[in-house]
Amino acid sequence: MKRKLEISELIFKIISYTLLTVFALCCLYPFLYAVFASISGRRAVEYGEIVLFPKDVQFAAFREMFNDNMFWNSYSNTLFLTFFGTIWALGVSILGAYALSKKRLLFRKFFNFYLVFTMWFSAGIVPQYLNYLATKSVFNGIGIMDDKWLVVIAMGMAAMNIILLRNAFEGVPGEIEEASIVDGATEFQVLTKVFIPMSKSTIATVALFFGISRWNGYFWARQMISNPNEHPLQVFIRLKLEQYTDSEFTAGWNMPYATDSVIYALIVCSIIPILVIYPFIQKYFAKGTNAGGVKE
């Protein structure tokens, strides 16, 4: 038998649904508006005539974007940084976390502190920048002239992610490790054949964190990469925004679509790939917040 809803319950339900709907729509609307504005005609965008539907539909703003070589360039640069950056950071972190998860490691406490301290204290922007310049000259000295590789190697390591992995590795039962050693596995085989397969979901979560921070990376990419052909997408978007909202630039604009439409088109283009892969990564996304590195 279904219990009758109490009045207080009913009120709370109504409030919940109302506020949730309002908030969800507020979350969604800016994206819808971005899509509408990117495909609406110049007059409609500039005079604020779009609210719920696009008007005077045009695709010229998207076409301008797609015909821009720099756009594709920045996209491929972002893919490069994300791909190699994630592989590098993940590889280093897995190896380090594996070593740190072993109780027999000498000075284990010290090494842990060595990582954790970087979460407490960072030197700040200016010292980091000066240090990047110094390491850059070292890199150039050994023949790596591309700023991209420096960004890949120098950036994006996070102590938190190593700790997450270490905790996962510590959760692997010691008996399985012993059994594989008895079977003649080397240290490296123990890692690749036992520990990595048994911590797959944590590794996927950490890889996702690395990938997202690479995809989103802006500040240091802009500081460190001097060649505009090597700029990643985020830097490209920001530079375009600065250019297209400049009053002198907009005053001389004589296209049938608004400058805003180009920016909105760019925003839409940068969100779409993430929306496409979202269903596949969703469960790791949710898992990551719960793991949180909380350790008893």
Binding site: Y17, P30, Y47, M119, F121, I125, A134
Partner: protein, 352 residues
């Protein structure tokens, strides 16, 4: 005394006599030749240490070596010379920032205040939102409807800071009077609701220091509330249905259930998240401020990191910039350590 003897000798219970522990010789040996023992262990387990090496090096090069550059805060800034060759300036930069009388001092204290206020308001308004959302999600019984709500509210989290700030910039942008264009759609909506004046909307909300904090917080809630609610929602759905049933049998209404069932169950999660937030108060993301502020809004927007960026990277006062950020980060570190200690005491859960 007996305790000490036990360290070295083992009591043979049958005869009641002590004899030497054979392992003690090994222990003594390790103690005497400690570094030899260390060397042997490392040689035996060399693969393990080799695996650790890249991590150590990466953190050394890009986390610890910048700390050496912090020496620049105590030395006369020089664009050419490396920090080791610069002349010592003592604490002069710190004195200038803290107790000077020039514009630098005012700007620094303003930046400190803004850093604190942006975090504090973020805590005040931003922190309860995910909890409320999680409570609301829990009311939605249909799984499909809830998934739709959840996906929609997570959506903004998938934008990068650059895309998010670009979108915000466009939505509240100024109107161009010469071309007779309208301000951004959100400005128009706020104006229609009577929340802002037409002048403010036309001038662009991001050019007005009075609106910066509100824009920062509201965009922050928009971006993270849905995603941050995951952890609270997980805590809520972990509550056993029998707890609700028991409360209902005892005659508890919705509010009483909230008060006596839900709240106690998620309290530890709330406390941990709150302490983490307090710990990271002074390390607010400078990227977002950097991307949203402009010279019109320094009064309310400039934080210590952007202050350092402006003087140290865009300008050439590297010493001043390093000193400012160093003070900010040391206070931040004390907050983190303090918060972690409290968390450990309060809930037996250490965050690190």
């Amino acid at each position: 005394m007996k305790g000490r003897a036990d360290d070295y000798l083992i009591l043979d219970e049958a005869t009641g006599t002590y004899h030497e522990d054979p392992e003690q010789a090994v222990r003594d040996d390790v103690e005497k030749h400690y570094w030899l023992h260390v060397g042997r262990t490392i040689v035996k387990d060399w693969r393990l240490y080799l695996m650790l090496l890249p991590t150590i090096l990466v953190f050394l090069f890009w986390r610890y070596m910048p700390m050496y550059e912090l020496l620049g805060a105590f030395k006369v800034s020089d664009m050419v010379k490396p920090v080791s060759d610069q002349l010592y300036a003592g604490f002069s930069y710190f004195r200038t920032l803290l107790t000077g009388s020039g514009s630098l001092t005012t700007e620094f204290w303003r930046a400190m205040r803004n850093t604190f206020l942006l975090s504090f308001y973020g805590l005040l308004f931003g922190f309860p939102m995910p909890i409320l959302l999680a409570l609301f999600f829990n009311e939605v019984r249909s799984n499909i409807a809830r998934s739709v709500y959840q996906v929609l509210t997570y959506l903004p989290k998938f934008m990068s800071t650059v895309v998010m700030t670009s979108l915000v910039t466009m939505l509240v942008k100024q109107s161009i009077t010469t071309l007779n264009t309208q301000p951004g759609i959100v400005s128009q909506a706020l104006q229609a609701l009577g929340l802002i004046s037409a002048d403010a909307a036309n001038a662009g909300l991001l050019n007005n220091p009075n609106f910066f904090r509100a824009i920062y917080q509201i965009s922050g809630i928009w971006e993270t509330a849905g995603y941050d609610s995951i952890v609270f929602f997980a805590a809520i759905i972990a509550i056993s249905p029998t707890s609700y049933e028991a409360a209902q049998i005892d005659g508890a209404g919705k509010w009483a259930q909230m008060r006596y069932v839900v709240l106690p169950s998620i309290l530890s999660t709330i406390v941990i998240m709150l302490i983490t937030r307090i710990g990271s108060m002074l390390s607010i993301g400078y990227e977002k401020v950097l991307l949203l502020y402009n010279s019109n809004t320094y009064v309310t927007a400039d934080v210590v990191s952007t202050f350092a960026q402006r003087y140290g990277l865009a300008g050439s006062d590297k010493g001043i910039a390093s000193a400012a950020e160093m003070m900010n980060n040391i206070v931040g570190m004390l907050l983190v350590i303090g918060a972690n200690t409290i968390a450990r005491k309060a809930s037996n859960v250490s965050l690190y």
